[in-house]
């Protein structure tokens, strides 16, 4: 039933590792330059779009439409005096931004951006490299980035920076687990961890009664996709999960002591490159990668040559615009809500979902014992219901106990206000006669 639309130009794992060194270097440098420019104009795009959403103009002085604003900011940061506070741990303080930035760039090396093309006479895929464990590389690089956050907070020797660093790392590692689990569904369907082959696996959908079914995993694995979208906001510390920089609580978080210099610019750069990496991963794993979306894909030439770069870029812009949309419309969540969402909802739901699709897949495989699948499914369902019922009743009992306790305390304090241990003024002072009567007349109005 599976219609193979895989053309000869579609790269597979076997196509990688044969590039001449100079082609690899050209690709690496181009990726770097594109990401740098992406950050510069991404910042501009974000500021401009969020301004429009908030009914204002945004940057409009430097260059046409303020396009050069980020370039000017970057130049300014490069030429500013660099302050290294006296108490900081100099080596760690210096290394931390580099540890943040370099893995962010590295993760982009496995992002597929197009099919095989002819580059200076060499047939090569539009992707720096691919590995049998490509997606794992991205997760590994995200984990290395956490070191940068912790070290930046630790090396700064400032309480706010330190707390911000710990908080940021706790958040990132919590969401990274849910993120890794949301990939498992994709691996189950694609049967590989290689990014180019995952894109290939999303090429052609099944046909049911002649109607082509959608082949992007964002539709067939919708719950995984929703969890991934939430975790990608949490993983990159973006609104509504931007607690590490919660201005009202932690000043600037782990980057407080990085005054507005090039080191700060490198931290910001890493942050935006991380956003690009998770966007690219969402496109690669869930949105068909560089392949053209439906109406365009009817055109035969859409998925060959250099055209896919355009589709990939358009998808990147859309996903990035989604980040900005979230920033414009969502308030920041509380820290306990953030962690509870990650650990108590995303991870258990994810595990259950993985087991569900694995079971469904086992069910579809021919030659498997279906009664066993049914039995397992019933056991799991009953187990979930039991656990839920147990938790629900325990929660309800605790809630009632708490309410009763609060009520008892309230009654006790009502009779004798100082009984709670705090020196409070008596609530029934003789001179207070309630709001109805004014103690001091307030003039003629």
């Amino acid at each position: 039933m599976r219609t193979t639309l895989l053309a000869a130009a579609d790269p597979t794992l076997a196509d990688f590792g044969h590039d001449p060194l100079w082609i690899s270097i050209i690709k690496a440098v181009v990726i770097f330059i594109v990401l740098m420019l992406g950050v510069l104009f991404g910042v501009w795009f974000e500021r401009k779009l969020i301004s429009r959403m908030q009914n204002r103009y945004g940057p409009n002085r430097a260059g046409k439409f303020g396009l050069l604003q980020s370039v000017a900011d970057g130049l300014k940061m490069g030429l500013k005096e660099d302050l290294m506070p006296r108490t900081v741990d100099k080596v760690i303080y210096f290394i931390a931004p580099v540890v943040l930035a370099v893995p962010a760039f590295l993760a982009f090396s496995v992002v597929p951006m197009g099919p095989k093309v002819s580059m200076f006479g060499v047939e090569t895929p539009l992707q720096l490299t691919d590995l049998p464990v490509a997606v794992l590389l991205v997760l590994a690089m995200a984990s290395v980035g956490v070191y940068g956050i912790v070290l930046a907070g630790w090396g700064s020797r400032s309480p706010y920076a330190m707390l911000g660093g710990l908080r940021a790392s706790a958040q990132v590692v919590s969401y990274e687990i849910a993120m890794g689990l949301s990939f498992v569904g994709v691996f189950l369907y694609a049967g590989t961890l290689s990014t180019s082959e995952i894109v290939g696996a999303q090429a052609g959908g099944n046909e049911i009664f002649g109607v082509p079914m959608p082949s992007w995993y964002m539709i067939t694995l919708f719950p995984s996709f929703v969890i991934y979208v939430i975790t990608m906001l949490g993983e990159t510390n973006r609104v509504p999960f931007d607690l590490p920089e919660g201005e009202g609580e932690l000043v600037g978080g782990f980057q407080t002591e990085y005054s507005n210099s090039l080191k700060f610019a490198v931290i910001m750069l890493a942050e935006y490159v991380n956003v690009f990496v998770v966007s690219a991963m969402s496109i690669t794993l869930f949105m068909g990668g560089w392949r053209a979306p439906w109406p365009i894909s009817l055109w035969d030439g859409a998925n060959s040559g250099w055209w896919p770069l355009l589709w990939f870029f358009a998808k990147m812009v859309l996903v990035f615009a989604f980040f900005i949309w979230c920033r414009a419309s969502l308030p920041r969540v509380r820290y306990d809500q953030l962690m509870a969402l990650g650990w108590k909802i995303l991870i258990p739901v994810n595990l259950a979902w993985i087991l569900l699709i694995a079971t469904a897949k086992a069910f579809r495989l021919t030659g498997t014992d279906r009664t066993l699948v049914y039995a397992l499914g019933i056991v799991v369902l009953v187990g979930c219901a039991l656990i839920w019922w147990r938790f629900d009743s325990v929660m309800q009992r605790r809630k009632e106990e708490r309410e009763a306790q609060v009520q008892a305390e309230f009654e006790e304090l009502g009779a004798e206000p100082a009984a709670g241990g705090f020196p409070v003024p008596p609530l029934d002072l003789p001179h207070y006669h309630g709001v109805a009567r004014k103690e001091v007349s307030s003039g003629s109005n």
Binding site: D82, T87, I177, E257, W343, I347, L365, L376
Partner: protein
């Protein structure tokens, strides 16, 4: 360039070298170009804007430490899931593999339930 299995990793190494070179170059150029006129006030830790008091490192909750443990357990769990997911549909695996994963995830779920019960997963 054909290095066999490790050939694909050579490109990652190339990007790493380019990355370190560009970041180091930028920081070096910055060092050459920027002015340096430090004063005691500039070199004080910023913290929250008022003069810093006491030692720089604050005490923090032990809970973060517990989290890193939980993270290690679950990250390893996820890493075990990845190869399972890739071979799951291959011939010769199927039901036995599925049941094994049910058992494995059952143990892991027991871990998170234990943490939950021990109030590790509460934030006040």
């Amino acid at each position: 360039m054909s290095l066999g299995y490790l050939g694909s990793y050579a490109a990652v190494l190339a990007l790493f070298v380019v990355g370190v070179a560009i970041v180091a170059g930028a920081l070096f150029a910055n060092r050459m170009l920027r002015p340096t006129r430090p004063t005691p006030d500039k070199l004080a830790t910023y913290e929250c804007g008022v003069d810093p008091v006491g030692e720089g490192w604050a005490q923090s909750q032990v809970r973060y430490y517990v989290f890193t443990y939980l993270y290690v357990i679950f990250a390893v769990d996820a890493v075990f899931l990845f190869p399972w997911a890739t071979v799951f549909a291959a011939p010769g695996f199927g039901m036995t593999t599925l049941v094994e994963m049910f058992v494995f995830l059952g143990f892991i779920a027991l871990g998170i339930l234990y943490g939950w019960r021990k109030r590790v997963l509460t934030w006040a």
